[in-house]
Symmetry: C2
Subunit: 216 residues, 2 copies
DNA sequence: CAGGATCCAGACGTGGATCCGT
DNA sequence: ACGGATCCACGTCTGGATCCTG
């Protein structure tokens, strides 16, 4: 699929998916449905990238670079609410100095959310109405406040105490192939230490509100 | 092949290769001889890693970590002299402060050289007598002096002027998939710029002398 | 002939996320 | 339910070097 050239085109393509099943999309894209979703965790996300014409695999750029829009699939439980947290980005060894311009701020500035039924792993799960979102003033404030708190802990040598329990909307959790993976980091004493790679995630309670945010 | 546990064992294994052909070794290791050596440039080196039990592919470590020995194959022309320069290591974005402890110093501290006839690409090319080498005082001085000169140019903003022409024994040359590859580097003004990745290489005139260094 | 350009294999990192035990 | 652990795809990087023009 070629890339969408305007926001309008992107919205139209996304809306056209509403009600379709993963099976429909897989057939359309000539994708093979994996037998086992325990492996292939990113399969749905990559399918949707194809379907919508996102430039898959590119780094340090939004999924739709020309539009400045990020694509996120979001799994829904039987009640239509987010089933899982949403990975935002990895936390690099170099701590960013401020919210403005940070990777989290940029990633979440403009997001196309595609909700997908995920109560079971059957291929007939349906796509719900996608929503193109920009954070409200209130949401922005929450995100910035969380980001600042978490970043402060990373900066001021409290990285070890920083568990997933901190943050109202944004949290920090492991992000690696497994718990044996380590990477070098620089702590507040400028010493080089080893730590497990982590990332920023959005809590389901936050994305639930996102899905209810009226389109501006 | 399991790893050699002593220097003596390594020397014995290496000496046992003298006079054998690449074809012999490929058969022994169940390696397929590539049809075309223009591609598969590293094939011979990797074959020898297998043959001698080097821990292939490991990073930031000697090929024989327990022995602190590095393995290098070296191509010989019809006159029995080195046909090519020898790649030592990549130059990272962070310039090392001093010779002692530098990657070049560590890589060249103890090397097992395996000379291989390379006038043509036929599989019957023979292995010559390997030599386990440690730099002589004179060689060390040359290497350190070159390293210091080249490193100074990298440090003091003369990286652009640093061509392969500098250095008596050690030189700096491109090291990348192709000339379009760029990476971010920090120059002397702490500005971020793009430059082609480069590496340290030993000139053939130096390795020729190495092959003549008497074993201590 | 040698400086600049290039090629492959395999490890590693990043972006796509969900799994799963307490 | 949720915090910590984990899985795949794929692009990039690194280590093995030699190729190839002027």
């Amino acid at each position: 699929m070629n890339i969408p050239t305007t926001i309008t085109e992107l919205i139209q393509r996304a809306n056209a998916l509403t009600g379709l099943t993963l099976s429909d999309l897989a057939t359309q894209q000539n994708y093979t449905l994996p037998e086992n979703f325990q492996h292939h965790k990113g399969w749905v996300g990559q399918l949707l990238e194809q379907v919508l014409g996102a430039s898959a695999g590119s780094k340090a750029e939004p999924d739709f670079p020309n539009l400045g829009v990020e694509l996120k699939t979001i799994p829904l439980n039987a009640k239509g609410k987010p089933k899982e947290s949403t990975f935002v980005c990895a936390i690099s060894a170099i701590i960013e100095p401020q919210w403005q311009g940070s990777v989290v701020q940029k990633k979440l500035a403009h997001v196309l959310w595609v909700p997908i039924e995920s109560e079971s792993d059957i291929p007939e799960r349906k796509i719900h109405q996608p929503i193109l979102w920009q954070p409200t003033a209130e949401q922005l404030q929450t995100l910035e406040q969380d980001w600042q708190e978490l970043t402060d802990m990373l900066t001021f040598g409290e990285a070890d105490r920083l568990t997933a329990e901190y943050g109202e909307a944004l949290q920090v959790r492991p992000k690696a192939a497994n718990s044996r993976v380590v990477r070098e980091t620089v702590n507040s004493e400028s010493e080089i230490t080893k730590a497990i790679p982590r990332g920023f995630y959005l809590r389901p309670s936050f994305t639930e509100k996102v899905l209810q945010t009226p389109t501006p």
